[in-house]
Symmetry: C5
Subunit: 279 residues, 5 copies
């Protein structure tokens, strides 16, 4: 009897292998590695697929207060120099969380075509004066990929809605990073079922695109989460309403982690982040 | 078949987008940012919507005991001076938890029309003598919003009950802060269902309004909770009975977090909080 | 349709408010605050309702070993003096856990008619030599209340059983503290259902009253638990059997926390606890 | 109606009390306390009921590396002397976990007829040079009791199987300690149901008794677990297969904790454990 | 009635014991211990059953920055010397995680025929300069075993697929370690059911074998997990797709732990790992 079931399995196995191989050929074609001579352009790297994102949250140790004031003040220049040194390898953003978060004072977002280069930058930061006086509280690693659900082909009306909406608010002063993990039930839904849930998820977000900018990194297997969702806004009440809307759709029932931690910070130049922490 | 279901989806999608956009126009109209010349008035800022609340719980490090006694004693004045400096930006309350809590010795409640200004105050506090000798144990961020469920229009009898009840006890000596997070099932209920549950939740609270003052901040998306509930009372047995009543209604079944931590402290002037910790 | 359901709700709302107000009038009548001239009598304060209990678990830091031996030895006298100073405000018990627990070396049980006075004692303890060298691992706050379920009126036979049973063992050498939290399902049961479950819970405890003394504090809203259960015994195998009996009734299915931590210690005079830790 | 149900309850209550009192008379008769003049014999204390077991896991602090080498080397003798001093009160075993565990470097198993004496030994260890440089990571407290399920009377075939099986491997080099906690559903099963599950649990263990030695301590109420399971083996692949067998029976569905932590170490004399950590 | 059920049990008990003993005879025959004169060959030890794997994740303490630069620089040679000393006992791999992980800077994978020898190596590493300045964050212990489900006999087509697939990418630059624990429901499935689920699990992995290398260690009872899954790849987007595929099969519903932590690092020689951390 067991033989039989194996034999029956045969057909679907072979079909499955072929299907999987085809899928994979397409999905691996992202521009992952031959990146040595690429210069980093902000507008390009922030919109392309196949780009790695490393978020690292830091908390200053009490010893930082005992570093001589002049040395602390020189930190902004030291970090600026490090960013300049790596500017052909990584795009560096820095945010201030002290006063709004428990476990971090500042955090990095590094974008890179080659993950090893992001690692090298973050490793070298650890040897700067401020890096030596800070503990890593959290690290999130992900990679950008082409749109999956709300594409022109699969969900034309909503795709049009997304394309039409543009951020029209003042320059965002706030950043929010929310890691997401979905449960086994979600991943075992058929693609059609997940598409339907993501459409229901997307509808209430449309009106907020005028107030909130969004970006998505995929993390399954690279980290203990499935997605890193990144937001910028100048209107935190709109953002609060957006997140209530996202809580109120069935897709939310598939979350095993949504936040934990949510990180809320302010958007400043790297220099000003370090200066604010050096006073 | 998939085409068809997408097409069927079309009508509800468009309707949904319109509905969502309408909703959002109303809800974002809170007075969030143009606040530069506003002076902070306690009675106003504590009753208006669109006000940010930042709660920060601190625990003194053992090193605090080694700070020279005179320097410790000067801390109350140093903090008072900082509060004075920021008095046009933030309203500062300070509470004593040492002796009643494990993870904190004191905590701040900052109210501000502009969240960035609350952040600046809390960041500068970290550079005071006592701030340098304390670790942040918890930070809660929320914003006040207009009443949602028990309004004059939606629940007139209960709204009248709420309006009629007034605190008549002695000046409260105790403060309790309880963060709240509700699950996906709650947020996926219809508004009518949630209104019904909140009415059932509100009824048993009415008799306690003579003994307990309450205030609510909304946190979804700004923090890993949905609400910060803040209480003042002079009658902790009444408060215990109130919370048992709130535990005994169906709405409690939707909580994924209710407390954890509950913070219980005493209400003192900022000067007296710091002095109590400097002895 | 909604109007209608609200209108239907009206009658029960008003009834509910009246019922709740009546209940509350009775339950708040405990002797909470006017306590300034009360002297603390052990036999009274340990049997009255309306008494606050503060349990604080402490763990010595490694630095304690570096405090000069004479200073360590003087600690017992210093703590005795502090207890004497506060003897009209709080009843102080101290227990030794070093060797039996991971996260504490000793713990306090403070009983007080006024919670703020318990806070003041615990705050001043933190400034003693041993207090400065110890970290708080846990704090539990509760208040005693009149019997709720197994009263003469509601459960006469069991109440008689409880009254008849007396501790007849040797003086207890061991103390066990077990915090308890029940889930929303429990609190949403009717009083009759909870009474029935508490009767089933009480029956198997009766034979152990000869070996185990018990005391209960209520914590809902004052802390992240519902109850602090406190036990003294000289027969730990009887205690183990008692707790297996309590695990084996349906009421146990409503626990979300039962222990975590369970604290097991030995009963000694405050002086001997401090001396044991000073050697 | 309520009166009636109480009245109906009456009969079963009285029966329950009598039954419980009878049970308790039997179970408390273990030789718990009058132990002052008993000498500890390894072969006896490790097989008797009514013996307390205290497991304490320790992790060396980084400061241990700064203790002068000669002082570190003297530690083995200092601990040996302490063991000798207490040899009439406790049986001391010591195991090496450094290199195999994250949170401990070594652990004690103390067997004692009187728990307070185990506490005294562990407290005095904390004042030795190595004890002062180590943090307690975990403490497990339990007590041995007579066989409950697989007895000659209740499960004769399996009892015979257990009696017939003997360890025939080389002297065990490895120790494994696995704490166990069962859920409320388990404890609410009837004794017959639990007996049936324990029989199903026991069957697959029989073949491994030639490779694995086992010992059980009961912890309900003394600690936040129900059992401490202790194993010795020289064949870790057999042990892995045994634990897979135990995972594969229905009784495993009632575990709320099984391990967490599992502690794996090597069996050495106390002297050699301390020496290995002093190099 | 109970007697009867026991008697009925008798037959299956005896059958079970015999079956279990037979099984065990086979499975324990792995070459576990008589290993004193075996030289370690990388290609052999990494493919044989009965080999223990110890993964140890380390995080440098802040004090590492204060070790004199020359001493830090000598660390690579010191570790190389230690590896050389133990080369007949253990195979040592070292990976760099600083910059990509929160809780570790580097980790070891030790392969050994005798677990005690892996322990000795790891213990001696703790006495090197870098070992003394690092904390263990995690330790995973497992053992290799023969294929269980997708064998030539039990699942011939899939086994052929596995055998045919070969890694054809560039030399892997990245390593990922993911611990796995399955729930009681999984282990209570029949072997046939588990085989079926593992076949469904294996199908989507086949296309990725050209990009991703895999290795499996079994941990039940040796650690608080069931498996250690180890991956090497040079294509992290393919790896992300592979893990999404594995999340999307029913077997994922039986995971109680999958990752937590996932560890992502880069593959370098031991010397280069230590050097990168010594700069």
């Amino acid at each position: 009897m067991k033989r039989l079931s194996i034999r029956n399995l045969h057909v679907s196995l072979v079909a499955g292998i072929i299907a999987a191989m085809t899928m994979q050929t397409a999905s691996v074609a992202a521009p992952q590695s031959a990146t040595d001579t690429i210069t980093i352009e902000r507008s390009k790297i922030l919109t392309q697929p196949g780009v790695f994102g490393v978020f690292t949250m830091f908390k200053l140790r009490p010893e930082w207060n005992k570093v001589p004031a002049t040395e602390r003040m020189d930190s902004a220049a030291e970090v600026a120099k490090l960013i300049e040194k790596h500017k052909d390898n990584v795009l560096v953003d820095l945010y201030l969380t002290r006063g709004l978060e428990t476990n971090s004072d500042f955090f990095f977002r590094i974008n890179a075509y080659d993950l090893a280069k992001a690692q090298t930058f973050m490793r070298e930061f650890r040897s700067t004066t401020i890096g030596k006086n800070a503990d890593v509280f959290d690290t999130l690693v992900g990679v950008t990929k082409p749109l999956n659900y709300i594409t022109k082909a699969k969900s034309p009306e909503l795709n049009a809605g997304l394309s039409a909406a543009t951020y029209i608010g003042d320059a965002p002063r706030y950043v929010i990073v929310i890691p997401v993990k979905k449960n086994a039930e979600w991943w075992n839904l058929s693609f059609e079922q997940r598409l339907k849930e993501m459409e229901t998820h997307t509808v209430p977000t449309l009106p907020y695109l005028v107030n909130v900018k969004r970006k998505l990194y995929h993390s399954t297997g690279l980290d203990d989460i499935d997605f890193i969702t990144y937001f910028e806004t100048n209107d935190l009440i709109a953002f609060n309403n957006l997140l209530i809307s996202l809580a109120s759709v069935p897709e939310n029932k598939y979350h095993v982690r949504w936040g934990n931690p949510t990180t809320l910070g302010t958007i400043l130049s790297p220099e000003n982040v370090i200066k604010a922490l050096s006073e």
